[in-house]
């Protein structure tokens, strides 16, 4: 254990911009940086989730259609017409226990999906969900995981046009009365495989086999009976690029980024067991997903399988007939003419995405054994089926949005000193090199955000920047939190409009223990200098009082359990005057607890923080709040980062 008392080295310069602001506006300084935005930041907390509050441009010059959707790391899509209006709506599960809903609208310029909910109908779904008409009444019911590894059944008690779900069984049981079990990482599916009007339930198992149940009753809840533990003798054992399996070069027309994911082929030295021993290529320890679709238009259901140890999507053609399914063909990579390749564990869904009358493919990449970091940004693949029945990859970022990979960390700051707030977003790790975090910068230019060049910092994981004028020279300096290298100190040796951040000291502040240092600067005691707070992995708050001056701060360790605040894990403190009483209230992001407000019940000079109040936001895991006024309307807005690598935006009231 390190000594509990820490002193940073003194800083030398004199002025402190935030310290010169009116006292009542000071809290906003820490949240937004100095300048005009600070004056406008304090106020009632924002409440309305907005996906596209203003234009945000991509590097290509186009705008994001869904800039503040929140990011995807492991999207599990399903296309279906939930409102019986003749087009296919979209559901996506990104995080546990919630499914996002996008309603389809067919406009003149083509189909579009409008975000409607982050947690559709407030349904708890565990690790997976499947909509299907289980009771044969013409509307979609819902199967979902009942943690752990059992099945919950929601019956649609509304109508085909207006779905309304009621939990009918918290644990689905088979005909023998035993709970139906499916390892929660293996996502099952439902279809009527033999066209007898009764739903069949399929569960993929870790040994690559498929278990089939068929419903014997559907009211009041489905009762499934085991038909076979080894459906069609399917055993998913193929895995391309492995010893004994086809080399990558043998695959046809693999997309250009194939090299990212494929193995180098069999080990050059071979296999010491190859002679004299029977090699079984079975994949164990796996996780899988599957879906059924009549992709070849022969009116029977074909099978599509994604697996943790499979970079592609496997297709097993149903060569039988509707009433007599036969799925004994060798699995082949799909699309056959242009096989999908990713980091593995691909979750497929089929539907007519482009309204041309045929089925297209939408596949979420959950990330398997082929470096999921590389698909942290691009993980919702859309393949269009063309008129010639061939498939073409249209995008790997369907529902395109700001997505910096994993664990986004936004900061609203006027980085170019032009009087408006720019947006800087850090992440956990680069999707490219995987050696360090990256920063993404969007410059606010006349109300639209355009990509710019982000400042560069020393390599570390999980940047967490906090800006403030630490040396009193009128520009913004920087404290940079990192995953396990403490907090670094960068002095701005450029100009306010053209910052040049120069590293002064790595490990400038080291937490007493733990990682994920998330600093924020605020004058908490009204002495006109910036004090330092930092969150950390354990969920507590570290407080370093500035025992120096506004121009030569000395951050003196006070507590690593400030105000006995503990938000569970991954605390990210920010200060904002949430109640308009002129002092700094504390809002803390957390891993699982959402955003928590601690009102300052003391004063500007003697803060005293009250009991935690849960703020009513549907937050992502590892929530990182940034308050400010990015749209310049004078009201307080919230930009929220999180586990999925994107951003959420909440507009002021």
């Amino acid at each position: 254990m390190r000594p509990r008392m820490h002193r940073s080295r003194p800083l030398s310069l004199l002025a402190l911009l935030c310290g010169s602001l009116p006292a009542a506006l000071l809290p906003g300084c820490a949240a937004t940086g100095p300048g005009r935005a600070a004056e406008q930041a304090a106020g009632p907390l924002p409440a309305t989730r907005v996906i596209a509050p203003f234009e945000v441009y991509k590097g290509s010059g186009e705008t994001y259609a869904y800039p503040f959707l929140g990011g995807f790391n492991m999207p599990r899509p399903q296309l279906l017409d939930i409102d019986a209006d003749g087009d296919q709506d979209l559901f996506v599960q990104e995080r546990p226990n919630a499914i996002m809903f996008f309603e389809r609208n067919n406009a003149a310029e083509g189909p579009a999906w409008t975000w409607r909910a982050d947690k559709y109908e407030a349904l708890d779904v565990g690790e997976w969900y499947r909509f299907a008409d289980l009771d044969g009444d013409g509307d979609f019911d819902l199967l979902a995981e009942q943690p752990y590894s059992h099945m919950r059944y929601y019956k649609n008690v509304g109508t085909a046009r207006e779905a309304r779900f009621a939990e009918a069984a918290d644990t689905l049981r088979d005909a023998a009365g035993a709970p139906v079990f499916s390892d929660r990482q293996n996502i099952p599916n439902v279809t009527d495989i033999d066209c007898d009007g009764l739903p069949d339930l399929f569960i993929g198992r870790i040994d690559g086999t498929v278990m089939r149940y068929e419903a014997t009753e559907t009211e009041p809840v489905p009762v499934f009976e085991v038909v076979t533990e080894n459906f069609e003798d399917i055993r998913i054992v193929a895995q391309f690029g492995q010893p004994g399996m086809p080399a990558p070069a043998a695959l046809p027309n693999i997309p250009g980024d194939n090299e990212m994911f494929m193995n180098d082929g069999p080990s050059p030295g071979g296999d010491l067991f190859a002679d004299g021993a029977q090699i079984r290529p079975d994949r164990l320890h796996g996780a899988n997903t599957m879906t059924f679709a009549d992709i070849d238009g022969d009116e029977d259901q074909d099978l599509f399988w994604g697996d943790f140890f499979e970079p592609g999507l496997l297709y097993i053609e149903n060569t039988g007939a509707c009433a007599r399914p036969r799925l004994r063909a060798t699995p082949v990579p799909f699309p056959v003419n242009d096989p999908l390749q990713s980091s593995g564990y691909n979750a497929p869904s089929f539907g007519d995405l482009d309204a041309d009358g045929d089925m297209d493919l939408l596949a979420g990449v959950l990330g398997g054994a082929f470096n999921p970091n590389k698909t942290a940004q691009s993980n919702l693949y859309m393949y269009e089926q063309r008129g010639d029945k061939q498939f073409t990859l249209r995008t790997t970022r369907f529902l395109d949005q700001i997505d910096v990979g994993s664990e986004s960390y936004p900061v609203l700051v006027d980085l170019d000193a032009d009087g408006d707030e720019d947006l800087l977003v850090a992440n956990k790790i680069s999707a490219e090199g995987g050696r360090a975090a990256t920063m993404t910068y969007f410059e606010n230019a006349d109300g639209a955000y355009r990509p710019g060049e982000a400042p560069a910092f020393f390599p570390a994981y999980h940047y967490a920047p906090a800006f403030g004028d630490l040396d009193g020279d009128g520009d913004l300096d920087l404290l940079l939190g990192t995953w396990n290298d403490g907090i670094a100190w960068y002095r701005n040796e450029g100009a306010p409009a053209a910052p040049n951040f120069v590293l002064q000291q790595r490990g400038f502040i080291r937490l007493t223990r733990g990682s994920h240092a998330t600093p924020t600067l605020v004058d908490i005691d009204g002495d006109n200098d910036l004090d330092l707070f930092a969150g950390e992995t354990s969920g507590t708050i570290n407080f370093y009082r500035n025992a120096g001056t506004a121009t030569a701060p000395v951050f003196e360790f006070v507590s690593d359990n400030y105000a006995d605040i503990d938000v569970g894990r991954r605390s990210v403190p920010v200060f904002v005057d949430a109640d308009g009483d002129g002092d700094a209230d504390l809002i803390v992001g957390s891993e699982q607890e959402g955003l928590l407000l601690f009102r300052n019940e003391g004063s500007r000079t003697t803060p005293r923080f009250g009991e935690r109040e849960q703020l009513p936001y549907e937050t992502p895991q590892a929530a990182v709040p940034a308050f400010g006024d990015p749209d310049g309307d004078g009201r307080l807005e919230l930009v929220l980062g999180g586990y999925s690598g994107g951003l959420l935006y909440f507009d002021g009231p």
Binding site: Q242, S267, D271, N371
Partner: protein, 468 residues
């Protein structure tokens, strides 16, 4: 011959009459102090076993039922009685399958339920050990093997402690002295603590637990993650064994599976199934370093660390490669050699001398013995009972190597088969896993111990037992 036959018939008739009387009394309303336990082993139970049950054990050789001690040693193939667990005792299984006299069955069952005691009330193997703990992931049961006798001497049925049939015990860690053992339940998202008497004395909730490692220096239990979630936390657990309080530490990579701790307790290693990366945790400061691992996608399964802590070894599920890693600078482990072993290298272990490594090769139905210095292959072991080998461990004195086998593909056939109502034999679905006992000097398989369904991780105490 005829005379012998008549004698046997007469003897059996007398036995059954006596048995009937005993059991009639036993099943009648009991007076105070009168129970099934009143049966005396040598007088009441042994004759029944000898006459009725022994002839049913047609596939066992070397079984001596002349005395309690001999019976408890089992046959060349393994135990026939598991104290306290009649349902998993071969004696009862065969008796049920053969439809033996219900009174005889009840007598034997009761005797086993009460611990299979001898005439003096001694429970077999109550002072035994060292013990090997075998997770039967498909059965919610752990088998406890006495490594001196090489027989299953106890079972721990997790359902008896309120867990489900899908509890899925996955891996086990044992304190060096054998006083406590821990097991991860991937179906229950929990880690349990048992004492040497197999009493549950603690538990901790833990999402998708996987591999376990116990550090006797700082007295901590470390826990990694299994596959049992779409997105398990990218953290390992540090568990304080007295309170079972959990602290979780980020290791930054998806699906941190491989896990082990150096013998001095100073460094913990975690590796990912999804990324070629090792995380090193300084156990005291909790600082972490990430180290990239070269090569194709490995999916690193499990580490073994040399007894001296100077090196470790790990296998890649997908690559088939075995990586030799130098730990001269533990926070910067260096891959010194990558060997294309193939065959799905799974849970390795070092022999006590530190010069040799045991590597089960799951997809090759074989076990490799490697030279720890250069990775050269010293022996390849295959044969009965090595069927999708998974876990490995060594008896503390180094005499025997133990390798568990999943046998999900029925490559190994247990010595008795279940019978369908039509009389056809079918693969035994409830008791078809195995633990191969391998001579650590000759590398011969000297015994195959049948256990329950889908055996996975195994663990044994490290210290050689000393006489009390």
């Amino acid at each position: 011959m005829r005379r012998n036959f008549n004698q046997r018939v007469l003897k059996k008739a007398v036995l059954l009459c006596a048995l009937g009387g005993l059991l009639t009394a036993a099943s009648a309303p009991r007076a105070a102090g009168q129970t099934h336990g009143d049966a005396v082993f040598t007088r009441d139970v042994l004759p029944v076993i000898q006459e009725i049950f022994l002839p049913l054990l047609t596939e066992d050789t070397g079984l001596d039922a002349s005395s309690w001690e001999a019976l408890m040693r089992g046959s060349d193939q393994g135990e026939v009685v598991i104290p306290f667990d009649p349902d998993r005792s071969l004696l009862i299984e065969r008796g049920v399958a053969a439809g033996v006299d219900p009174h005889a069955l009840a007598l034997a069952r009761t005797w086993i339920e009460r611990g299979a005691q001898n005439d003096d009330g001694q429970v077999p193997y109550s002072d035994g050990g060292p013990f090997l703990y075998v997770c039967n992931q498909g059965s919610a049961v752990l088998s406890v093997i006495d490594m001196e006798a090489n027989v299953v001497v106890r079972t721990v049925d997790l359902r008896d402690f309120g867990f489900s049939e899908n509890a899925k015990p996955h891996h086990v860690a044992v304190t060096p002295d054998g006083a406590f053992w821990f097991v991860s339940l991937i179906g229950e998202h929990a880690i349990l603590k048992f004492n040497r008497n197999n009493e549950l004395i603690g538990q901790a909730p833990f999402e998708a637990p996987g591999m376990l490692a116990f550090d006797p220096v700082l007295e901590r239990l470390y826990a990694g993650r299994s596959m049992s979630a779409v997105n398990p936390p990218q953290r390992i657990g540090i568990i304080e064994p007295d309170s079972m309080a959990v602290e979780e530490i980020d290791v930054f990579h998806p699906r941190p599976h491989a896990l082990n701790v150096t013998p001095d307790g100073k460094h913990v290693f975690s590796a990912s199934l999804g990324v070629n990366q090792i995380a090193v945790l300084d156990a005291e400061s909790l600082d972490i370093e990430l180290v990239s691992v070269p090569g194709m996608h490995h999916s690193l399964v499990q580490f073994a660390i040399a007894p001296g802590g100077q090196s470790m070894i790990v296998g890649g599920h997908m690559s088939g490669d075995v990586l030799l890693i130098d730990l001269a600078e533990p926070m910067q482990p260096k891959v010194t050699r990558a060997l294309p072993l193939g065959g799905g290298p799974w849970h390795p272990s070092f022999l006590p001398g530190g010069d040799r490594v045991v590597f089960p090769a799951k997809m090759a139905n074989a076990v490799a013995i490697l030279d720890a210095a250069d990775g050269s292959q010293i022996a390849t072991i295959s044969g009965p009972g090595v069927a999708e080998p998974h876990g490995s461990a060594t008896r503390p004195d180094g005499r025997y190597i133990y390798v568990s086998s999943n046998n999900l593909n029925a490559a190994f056939t247990p010595r008795y088969q279940e019978t369908t109502p039509e009389g056809n034999e079918t693969p035994n679905k409830t008791r078809n896993g195995s633990v191969a006992v391998i001579d650590a000097n000759t590398f011969d398989i000297v015994k195959v111990i049948e256990v329950e369904q889908y055996p996975t991780g195994i663990g044994a105490q490290r210290d050689v037992m000393t006489a009390p």
